[in-house]
């Protein structure tokens, strides 16, 4: 049965991956009425690849400069009550859209997202991200959902109520994390956002440090920019304000302590045991990871990938700390959108 929804696929030079995305959309148990690929002035034939698969391809007159710009451009072509935004490097589990649809039976629901897992788990960065997602989506996001406030409706795959999306003027490029910006605007407008763990999507994660750095830079600056932009409004949203405050604390104070205090303590106390602090919560991380991996029958993969998580976490802390300093201390806001893969 065709769902009354349109999928927007923003794409800039995604010829290598967009076909997989389109095919996974076409293979959905609840296929969308329309698939619109926004070819954001690609130079690698992305539009041709998409067109060849029988989907609608639209092309803005000039490159919009961001994913948000391309998505908002695509939104003008949407004529269904629901809209799905999916990255051009992401494929969906066959029932992903079907799993999300029931959530929108409730009129206050503005957006819903699913579980995200890396499509490829080979390099250290992909493995680190694999563990991070297993941990976050099995534990943090579930708790957020139980309290009715997922921190973010993931930009790589989310479903929106078109009317409410348009009411928010679509996606904004004023921050580098347009998905977070949109999610928080929904909350402030009194709408609901939900997380559906059964709806699974598989993006391609950065496989090298350079690509990972680009993505982390965008995400970290995007988070700080959204906090700066929305902090007053967020104070009105129960649970979310606490979750954001805690996240902000961890991105600043905890990250600084994590990166600086442990080595200093180890030197001051002349005890290498202090450095165990970098790994001491490994069993804590392992519990949700193993729960998530067991459900997916990927326990060995998870165990093999666990060490990479600690590397990624440290890098993550560095980028968030840099972003906080740049955005809040030095006033150097980042606005150039760079793709992370």
């Amino acid at each position: 049965m065709t769902a009354d929804l349109t999928v927007i696929v923003p794409a800039f030079n995604e010829a290598a991956s967009v076909a997989d995305t389109i095919r996974s959309l076409q293979a959905q148990t609840a296929p969308p009425r329309e698939i619109i690929v926004v070819d954001d002035c690609s130079t690698d034939g992305t539009g041709d690849v998409a067109r060849a698969l029988g989907v609608i391809v639209v092309r803005p007159p000039t490159n919009t400069g961001s994913k948000a710009g391309a998505q908002s451009f695509g939104l003008t072509y949407v004529r269904t009550s629901l809209t799905v935004a999916i990255d051009a490097d992401t494929v969906l589990a066959p029932d992903a859209i079907e799993r999300l649809l029931p959530v929108f039976d409730r009129p206050r629901v503005a957006a819903a997202c699913g579980l995200v897992l890396p499509r490829r788990v080979r390099s250290i960065w992909e493995r680190g991200r694999y563990i991070e997602y297993l941990f976050a989506f099995t534990y943090y996001k579930q708790v957020q959902e139980c309290y009715g406030k997922p921190l973010i409706s993931s930009g790589c795959f989310s479903m929106y109520r078109t009317s409410l999306l348009r009411a928010q003027n679509g996606w904004s490029d004023r921050t580098l994390a347009e998905d977070m910006d949109l999610t928080w605007r929904f909350y402030q407008a009194g709408h609901e956002v939900h997380f559906v763990p059964e709806a699974v999507c598989y993006p391609i994660e950065p496989r090298t440090f350079r690509l990972m750095g680009t993505q982390l830079r965008r995400w970290s600056h995007g988070f700080v920019q959204n906090v700066k932009l929305h902090w007053r409004g967020l104070l009105r949203v129960p649970f979310l304000r606490s979750a954001v405050a805690v996240a902000f604390w961890d991105a600043t104070i905890a990250a600084a302590l994590y990166l600086v205090l442990l080595p200093i303590l180890a030197l001051a106390l002349k005890s290498p045991w202090v450095l165990l602090g970098y790994l001491i919560d490994a069993p804590v991380v392992l519990v949700p990871v193993l729960v998530g991996a067991t459900r997916r029958r990927e326990v060995l993969r998870a165990l093999a990938s666990l060490p990479a998580f600690f590397v990624l976490r440290t890098v993550n802390a560095v980028f968030f700390l840099r972003a906080v300093c740049a955005e809040l201390v030095f006033g150097r806001s980042l606005h150039v959108y760079e793709k992370g893969h």
Binding site: F135, Y140, D281
Partner: protein, 645 residues
Amino acid sequence: MTVGVPGTGIGGMFYLVSALAMPLRQAYRSLRRRPSAGWRIVAGQTAMAGAILAAIWVTGWLVGIAITASAAFIAPPPLLGAHPGNVLRTAALVLSAATLAAVLLGVELLRLWVHRGTGRAATAGEAGSRQQIRRVAALVLLALAADGTHTVAAQHTRALARRLARADSAFAAGDATTAAREYAAALTVDPENSRATYRLADLTKRRDPVEALRLFRRYVTLEPSDAWGYMAVGDALARSESYGDALRSYDDALRLAPDERDAVIGRARVLARAGRTDAAVAGYRHWLDANPSDAEAWGELGRQRLRQGRDRDAALAFEHAQAIAPDPTVARRLAVARAAAAAAITPLASGTHDSDGNTTLRLGGTGELASWGPMRLGLTASRTAIGGDGVTTTGRQDLTLGAAWRPGAAWQVQASGGASRLDAALGRSATILPTGQLRARWRVPGAGPIVDLRARRDVLDATPLLAANRVLRTELGATVELPIARVFKLRGIGRTVALSDSAEVNHRTTLAGMLAVHVTPSVEVSAQFHTIRFAHPTTAGYFAPRLVQVAQAGSYLEFETARGILLVFDIGAGVQRVAEQGAAIGPWGRALRLYSLIVVPLAVGRDLRLEFDGEQSAFANEVATPGGAQWRYVSATMSLRWALN
């Protein structure tokens, strides 16, 4: 996107508390028929939170084991010690929870401040609804915080209660091994259980004093307002002879409990143990002024008075103790103190003999008056017969008035003055010569430096020739002992002696240095080096080489048997070389010496004292005889002190 440092930070605590709170929230929403996540998801997340808590505990436990196992290779963290048990500290969890609470509270305060104006615009219904939500949220948070804490605490409490019950039973039954094991096990369940920490330390203090001290210090950290913890630390430090730290710990205890007997008396005991007898006496007296019915304190004061040399005061203290609570041990000490303080007579007999055939025999006695405060007076009279080569004989009579004064435990002053009458010999008529001695000894309390000053004037009488020549020895000497480390002492001796007779005055200078090591409190070994110089040769009858050098290993041993017999031995063995006047120094030769003292208490107040002294060397340091290649000398003295009480 996952913000911050997932897994660590207060984010972990926030989601843990939130997950543990979910059942209550779910119950509330179900009762209110509001949309909710469903019990299956809630149960799953709560179980995951429980598993995370367990993982935290297991991690702490495993890290503790790793630290213990690798303590020999990697120094354990200073704050945890070599056997930290579970390194997960309640304090760390509390700190993390407090940080989280502070952040959340800060957000709420910020919200109230930022939106303080908008609240007035809200309708009454909205305001009421918000208030209700806030109340419920607060209750839920509180309940869940309590629930989370209670869940963990309950598990710990049950395991802990079992361990403690077993440990207490074993402790009460006197089974120290089992009790120690169970208390140690209790500490693995709850590393911050203060009672188990204290008891385990108490049970460990004899077997492993270092570990006991660590545990007592840990107890103080856990119970900083408990004076007994500081006292226990003080006692443990005193056992390891860290008296300064021990006293500081007792000072902490006294700040918390200034009138507590155990603190006051305990501090006095540490002072006594440290050798600070005067301060210990002051401590006991301070306590007894306010608590005169404390028999034990009177008894301990009596012992310290004896160490001070204040025998009469000691006897008075023991009398107080006996009057309050008769005790056979105190009764015995009382008798000893009374005998020591009483008037006494001491007959004595002594004799000397050397390898040249010189012999002396001395008979005499001393009469002492009863002690008067720190002062004691006595009169000594003796007759000495001096013979040599079996033909020449002479004699001397001595009469000396002596006084001993102990102004405090640190000071000892002895003075005596009198005269010696030398018989007519070798054409000289009988002569009376004044003699005397003054000795002052000062010891810095608490095993500190010692200064011993001595001046004396007496007659050399080892041979008939010396006696006939009326050789007088006038000596000034000083001994300084410096503790340079815990068991090492440096001792220096300097003496200058004028040896005068009717024809000349000669001078002898002695310098000596020694390094002494206290192997035990009653055993000392030392390495010594002495140099002795005479100004010029003499014909007065004593050996006056240009230079004598002595290198010797010495040992001093002091024992007391169960019957109270005191045995003292001072043994020296080494080499000696002598340079005659105008000659080069000779070869090294053997030098041996032995001094022993045996005091046998025949009854209370009746002590038999035996002294033996022997030397085998070319030059005798003290007796100054003509000497020889392997000259030998022995002396023996026997005296019996008979108290007249």
